[in-house]
Symmetry: C2
Subunit: 155 residues, 2 copies
């Protein structure tokens, strides 16, 4: 199956200008063109878009993704490198998930804090509440990495 750039943009939600930018950056090696120079996206390119999405989310830059795609062109000789890349990404994303979980806990605490404040009509109430009055499930709120060294309340 083949698709025009406009069709791909419409179905994926990726801007036409972005697709052209990716192409400029070499993310679609061997993409075909019509006689007149018009891009012909195929399932190959759609697959690549999936890989780009995955690797981008996992924290790679466009240039790094290009590097990976270059390795794919090299054939079986680069299998080890490619494998390692994915294991590394898996580790990174696992960390990201933990980070995000901590952020969720903080947000949940804030939601509780403001619900309590609104119910009381003033922020002074949740602010002065002792830990013992804070619901168990909200106390999952314990601060993360870089600020661990300092304590935490409400600005």
């Amino acid at each position: 199956m083949q698709y025009s750039i406009g069709e791909v943009a419409k179905t994926t939600g990726i801007a036409i200008s972005t697709l052209r930018y990716y192409d400029r950056e070499g993310l679609f090696p061997n993409m075909e063109r019509s006689g007149g120079g018009i891009r012909r996206f195929t399932d190959k390119e759609i697959e690549i878009l999936g890989v780009i999405e995955c690797l981008k989310t996992s924290g790679l830059s466009i240039k790094e993704i290009k590097l990976f795609l270059d390795w794919c062109q090299e054939g079986d000789g680069s299998l080890q490198k490619r494998r390692n890349l994915f294991y590394e990404r898996l580790a990174v994303v696992t960390k990201q998930m933990e980070e995000l979980q901590k952020t969720m806990n903080t947000l949940r605490f804030k939601c509780w804090y403001y619900d309590t404040a609104l119910a009381a009509g003033t922020e002074a109430v949740p602010k002065s509440l002792p830990q013992s009055e804070i619901p168990e499930d909200i106390l999952a709120y314990q601060r993360s990495g870089c600020l661990k060294s300092f304590e935490q309340t409400e600005p």
Copy 2:
């Protein structure tokens, strides 16, 4: 307790230039200075750094964070707005977690794919394996949002 910019940078891992940038952007309302103009960080500012970290992770820009901090200055009149912001962020982060979970599944599939390829000595092996030969737990790999409309294999 009071801290110099250098101390804060060292304990939080945030660059001095970044702390000064945040200050320039107004993220530390009412931060004190010494007679000579030297910043005096207090626990108030450290708390704000925690909020910045949380809101940044949840997808807010520096300008939006500044806005929130302005609301905090307004007092109880802005409680509702602040509450809504955190509920909204909670929803956004929940979506982000789902996104990340899908990315994890894709990565796990890729890890399996390359392990299989390396064991066989060639990518041709996992590439041509029928779905039925792919381990159950790896098949959690089903593609996400924007590319759902197209199918998925290996570029």
